[in-house]
């Protein structure tokens, strides 16, 4: 069949857009590598441009970036531990517990949270969250100080990893909760009703029908949240008092790990050329880690849905691609036949 001009133009436009994203990504990677190279190959012990300022006291590029990489992952991890359960709780409440009208308002409010600029979160963190967490910081340090996490000289100013992570947790709430909500809502009605018909309570129904169905989707939502947390800059730069090093302490002023993005923002303006190149190198590492997180997310998703790489049809409600598939744990529902019947219904 001969393609009509409109078809060809639309194909060209669509293909061009897809190709452009690859070009942009490659260009960013290339820029990072080229600009980072001088610092990666430089001698950090003797080069006078590197022995002063932000890069002073590090023996090599890797000795500088290593602790920063750790700090980035560490702060994001704590934010995820605080934020993800709350986000999933919000999503479940909106999708399965809240009355329809309240669910609508709540969902709207959560999405609104995503529209708050990160500098505003940072200022909110400094002015509100820092003093708010001081008593908790002191209490944790006094009573649970034997745990390395809560050890050290408790902060007097509140510029702790704890404060930074709490603000970061709030910032990743919208992305995790709105994606999870969409996925929970896509749980086939028949699965839920089958579970209820078998005598399950509402919580058991959620555990048996909703959560297994949504598992891979929730994992990818969480990893998208992690991606958001890894790159967060201004709020962290404003709140956390940094010192570049590997430290698990979250209640101190003086021995907090530092994240790559915040370190970049804080030190870029006053740095010389080679220091800038070192900072861009740390950005390259962040780029690599973010890519890795994405790959891991996809790998988890593909592993949890064996033999089903096909695409999920969207029903128009979902603004984001859902990776959930209509798989129900047969054992949980009490019989392979039920599961088979349900699947047949929805394929």
């Amino acid at each position: 069949m001969k393609a009509r001009p409109a078809d060809r133009i639309f194909f060209g436009f669509s293909f061009g857009s897809a190709a452009l994203i690859m070009v942009i990504l490659a260009a960013v990677a290339l820029f990072l590598i080229i600009r980072a190279m001088p610092a990666i190959v430089a001698n950090w012990q003797t080069n006078s441009l590197l022995t002063t300022g932000p890069t002073a006291g590090f023996s090599s590029f890797w000795a500088y970036v290593g602790p920063l990489l750790f700090g980035t992952l560490w702060v994001s991890l704590i934010a995820l531990i605080i934020g993800a359960p709350i986000a999933i709780g919000i999503a479940l409440f909106i999708s399965h517990y809240a009355p329809r009208r309240l669910a609508g308002i709540l969902g709207y409010l959560v999405d609104l949270l995503a529209a708050v600029p990160s500098i505003v979160f940072g200022l909110w963190g400094i002015i509100v969250i820092r003093p708010l967490l001081l008593p908790l910081t002191q209490w944790l340090n006094d009573h649970l100080g034997f745990i390395p996490l809560f050890a050290g000289q408790a902060s007097n100013t509140g510029s702790t990893i704890l404060a930074g992570s709490v603000v970061l947790a709030v910032m990743i709430l919208p992305i995790i909760s709105s994606i999870s909500r969409e996925i929970f809502l896509q749980t086939p009605r028949l699965h839920e009703e089958a579970a209820l018909a078998l005598g399950a309570t509402r919580w058991e129904m959620i555990r048996m029908a909703v959560l297994p169905y949504a598992r891979s989707g929730v994992v990818s939502a969480t990893l998208l949240g992690l991606g958001r947390a890894l790159g967060e800059t201004m709020a962290i730069a404003l709140i956390i008092s940094p010192s570049i090093g590997v430290s698990f302490k979250i209640l101190t002023d003086g021995s907090n790990a530092q994240t790559i993005a915040a370190n970049l923002a804080l030190n870029f303006p006053e740095s010389n050329d080679l220091q800038r190149s070192a900072l861009i190198g740390s950005g390259l590492m962040l780029f690599v880690v973010s890519l890795a997180v994405n790959f891991i997310a996809r790998w988890i998703v593909s592993r949890s849905t064996p033999g089903r790489p096909k695409r999920q049809r969207k029903d128009g409600r979902s603004a984001v691609p859902s990776n959930a598939t209509s798989r129900v744990d047969a054992v949980a529902l009490g019989g392979a036949s039920v599961s088979g019947a349900l699947e047949g219904e929805y394929e």
């Binding site: 022995t51 100013t157 008092s241 002023d253 021995s255 303006p269 740095s271």
Partner: protein, 375 residues
């Protein structure tokens, strides 16, 4: 606010400065330090100037640049001046060397590498470092019940090196006879971002107390274990909000926080910051260290600040510009703007609106000669 030598200010500049003072948030400006008109450097802005100046760099002098820009534009309405403070000193100099800035603001004068590359950018004459902004590094603190703290340079160095950790330490008590000091732990608040304030302050610590302050001086705070905050405002906010906190900041941005009196030289005398104090300190300590003809790079010799009319920790920031511009119109415009900055009126506009200290007349007169080299 009052001008003592309103005659040289001119009606337009006066209006502009007044208008600026109205919306400025800086601490109690004082015009009492103005040099007398007859001995000073006057400059008349040509109202027919047109064009756009692109500049950027040091954020320390950003408030002053804003004040200068507004006052200059009030007289030469056809001129646009963009000063980008987000670049910082490092970015400012880099962009200037790349030829994208007409001038840059920087907290440290050009280093030898930059002097060499300036000759590529500007021709054989190279670039000119000219002091433009003078203030002081204030030692700010928040300690309940203590409002009149005095600190010797040795005590300051020990506190910021984290060798003294409680407020009732004998060293602090020795500086403050008769004051009851609480046993509150000291929280040292510093800058987490690279900063000219840090560079000036660590230089002071390093020069006056090399045996106590053993870390390298520079734009990044070198001692690990302090509470690092972003920007001068971050330090001021955290010191204000905390208990037993101490930090350092450009005096023009400290607002209502209490600042300590600092020991003068090796004497037993302590002085609080004043604009006159910073001007006198610069006059006493500045030693010319030119990198070329007309260059006004200065090294501050802190040991020369011995008189109680001087504040011991001055903060200095420069403007750098080419001697030879590629475009004669840009040269004329840059020269006009810098001449305005480095005149009595310009210095007063900054002192009233940005809280800076006026540069001494002697250096302004040097600057006139240097600016004459720009073509």
């Amino acid at each position: 606010m009052k001008f003592k030598n309103a005659a040289v200010v001119g009606a337009v500049a006066l209006t502009a400065a007044l208008a600026l003072a109205g919306c400025s948030a800086t601490s109690t400006p004082s015009a009492s330090t103005t040099p007398t008109a007859d001995a000073g450097v006057t400059y008349k802005v040509d109202p027919t100037l047109t064009g756009t100046l692109t500049a950027g760099g040091s954020s320390a002098q950003a408030n002053a640049q804003t004040a200068w820009t507004a006052a200059f534009k009030a007289q030469a309405t056809g001129v646009t001046i963009n000063y980008d403070k987000s670049q910082g000193s490092g970015g400012g100099v880099t962009n200037w060397l790349a030829g994208s800035y007409d001038f840059a603001g920087t907290d440290s004068s050009l280093n030898p590498t930059q002097v060499t590359s300036a000759q590529t950018t500007c021709g054989a004459g190279g670039g000119l470092d000219i002091p433009a902004y003078l203030s002081g590094v204030a030692i700010i603190y928040n300690l309940a019940g203590v409002s009149n703290l005095k600190l010797s340079s040795a005590t300051i160095a020990s506190i910021f090196e984290l060798k003294i950790t409680t407020w009732n330490d004998p060293a602090i008590a020795a500086d403050n006879a008769g004051v009851t000091l609480p046993a509150t732990p000291i929280t040292v608040v510093t800058r987490s971002d690279g900063s000219g304030t840090t560079a000036n302050f660590t230089k002071y610590l390093k020069d006056t107390q090399p045996s106590i302050f053993t870390q390298a001086n520079g734009t990044a705070w070198p001692v690990p274990g302090t509470s690092g905050q972003q920007g001068g405002a971050g330090v001021v906010n955290t010191v204000t909000a905390g208990a037993g906190t101490i930090g350092y900041a450009d005096n023009s941005s400290i607002g209502s926080v209490t600042a300590a009196q600092v020991q003068v030289g090796t004497s037993k005398k302590f002085v609080a910051y004043s604009q006159t104090g910073a001007t006198n300190a610069f006059e006493a300590a500045a030693t010319a260290a030119p990198t070329g003809t007309g260059d006004l790079s200065e090294t501050l010799d802190y040991s020369k600040i011995t008189n109680t009319d001087s504040y011991p920790i001055p903060l200095l920031s420069y403007v750098v510009a080419c001697t030879t511009f590629k475009d004669a119109a840009q040269a004329k415009l840059t020269k006009a703007y810098l001449s305005f900055i480095l005149s009595d009126v310009g210095q007063k506009v900054a002192s009233v609106n940005a809280g800076s200290a006026p540069l001494p007349t002697s250096i302004l007169k040097e600057a006139v000669k240097s600016l004459a080299l720009i073509k």
